[in-house]
């Protein structure tokens, strides 16, 4: 049996960011990962570091997302310095395009609510008319009525991010254990033992970050992670010279030149097949937004599964029955990577979640139905 300071289960973006943060801050963690067969949202996501529209009606989530957007400005250069990997992070502000007056009015109301809920924390946004948006995004289609803009939004290369987090983790002395499933768990307060094949590992702290796998793992630790899969489909064009200096919610140009086009929200269970009708709808909206996209070839397309909590908000918890056991669940592994590495990991290292994390507890789902 091998002992570590902490065990993180799940080597996707959430687990890797937490494990990286723990290793960077001086702990000796182990990161247990399933392998290439895993439903890996980290390999299928859109790569936005997105703030606007996150956390309406839930100011704690808005603050958490904003914190991550700020921390990204530290994390990206830190990863580059430690690993030599440029994760392509940019934070030029982002736009959400509205293709009808009704969409624009709804968006305006939503952004204003975000601002009000931000209170003294502040929330800078602008509603742009077509011409103002077109000045920011060349070749904007006439179908675009307007857009919402905030300075907090950005994007990154999520594959480089995953690579850099893993590399940074290992270089700081973290132990990566891939191609493993959890066969059994010995659970006691601040004393956890996990069996996987012939290996047994132990640690006083454990973080469940296994994405959709958390739903089954969490109850072993007297935790709840009622996450479900939500499918999203993405199209990617051939690489082209830089045209889009800012990301939008569903169209962004990567630093390498490819244009990523998303996305869909489909509740279809554990099914990663692609659907031509969905891909067509995605492409049609993209071409209405940017007619010149019709002249580019789509060279790749895929479907992946988001890790979706019942209310769409992240779930963070520490087990009351088994202190030292934590969960982290969210559908925004890229956006929240910096919060996970720079805020959540230090809480795990310190041994307890900060009081403001209580709003993210899965206990919010335990409220009895009103009669």
């Amino acid at each position: 049996m091998k002992s570590y300071d902490a065990i993180v289960i799940g080597g996707g973006l959430v687990g890797a960011a937490i494990a990286y943060g723990l290793a960077r801050d001086g702990l000796k963690p182990a990161l247990i990962d399933e392998g290439d067969v895993a439903f890996r949202a980290s390999r299928g996501n859109f790569g936005l570091v997105w703030v606007q529209s996150k956390g309406i009606g839930a100011p704690h989530y808005q603050r958490w997302t904003r914190l991550s957007s700020e921390q990204w400005l530290r994390l990206a250069p830190e990863l580059a310095a430690r690993t030599g990997i440029d994760v392509g992070h940019e934070r030029p502000g982002g736009l959400h395009l509205c293709l009808s007056e009704a969409e624009f009015a709804e968006r305006r109301a939503r952004m204003e609510q975000m601002r009000q809920e931000a209170g003294n924390f502040g929330f800078e946004y602008r509603m742009l008319d077509h011409d103002e948006a077109a000045a920011m995004l060349p070749g904007l289609g006439s179908a675009v009525v307007g857009a919402s803009w905030t300075p907090y939004d950005g994007h990154a290369n999520s594959l480089y991010l995953l690579h850099a987090l893993h590399k940074g983790f290992v270089e700081r002395g973290g132990t990566y254990l891939p191609n493993r499933m959890i066969d059994y768990a010995g659970v006691a307060p601040r004393e956890f033992r996990l069996g996987s094949g012939a290996d047994e590992v132990a640690a006083p702290k454990i973080v469940l970050a296994a994405g959709l796998g958390n739903a089954k793992l969490a109850p072993l630790f007297s935790l709840a992670a009622p996450v479900r899969p939500q499918r999203g489909q993405i199209l990617v064009t051939e690489r082209a010279g830089r045209l889009l200096e800012r990301p939008t919610t569903t169209v962004r140009q990567t630093v390498e030149g490819g244009i990523m086009i998303g996305d869909s929200q489909e509740d279809v269970g554990f099914d990663t097949t692609q659907r031509p009708d969905v891909m067509q709808a995605i492409a049609e909206r993209a071409v209405r937004s940017f007619p010149w996209l019709a002249g580019l070839q789509v060279v790749r397309a895929w479907a992946a599964l988001r890790v979706m909590p019942p209310d769409g908000l992240p779930i963070y918890d520490e087990s009351e029955k088994f202190p030292g056991a934590f969960t982290a669940n969210c559908h925004s592994g890229v956006t929240l990577a910096a919060a996970h590495a720079n805020a959540f990991a230090p809480m795990v290292a310190a041994g307890e979640l900060a009081p403001e994390m209580a709003a993210f507890s899965a206990r919010r789902f335990d409220v009895p139905q009103a009669a």
Binding site: P138, E238, R239, A240, G257, W292, G295
Partner: protein, 99 residues
Amino acid sequence: MFRKRPESARPTVPVSVEGRAVRVPEGASAAAAVLLAGFGSIRDTAVSGAPRAPYCLMGVCFDCLAEIDGEPNRQSCMVTVAPGMAIRRQRGKRAATVA
């Protein structure tokens, strides 16, 4: 390096690769024309500018990208030659133009 199989006596069509005239068998791919014309590479990659040549010849690796009859980023291994076809080097990213 590349020779035709002896039993192959198909008619040929004239194409050009980077302005160099070459005759290739009917039904062959533009990538075959690149190789028959003796080019060691036909594109420079979009990110690092490294030279690349047709590799998998079955539409998977995207290393045979070329500008064919003015259209950038064609997979030359998936394009059948036609008389007079002009195959040119793909130099990094294509331009995207806002109409």
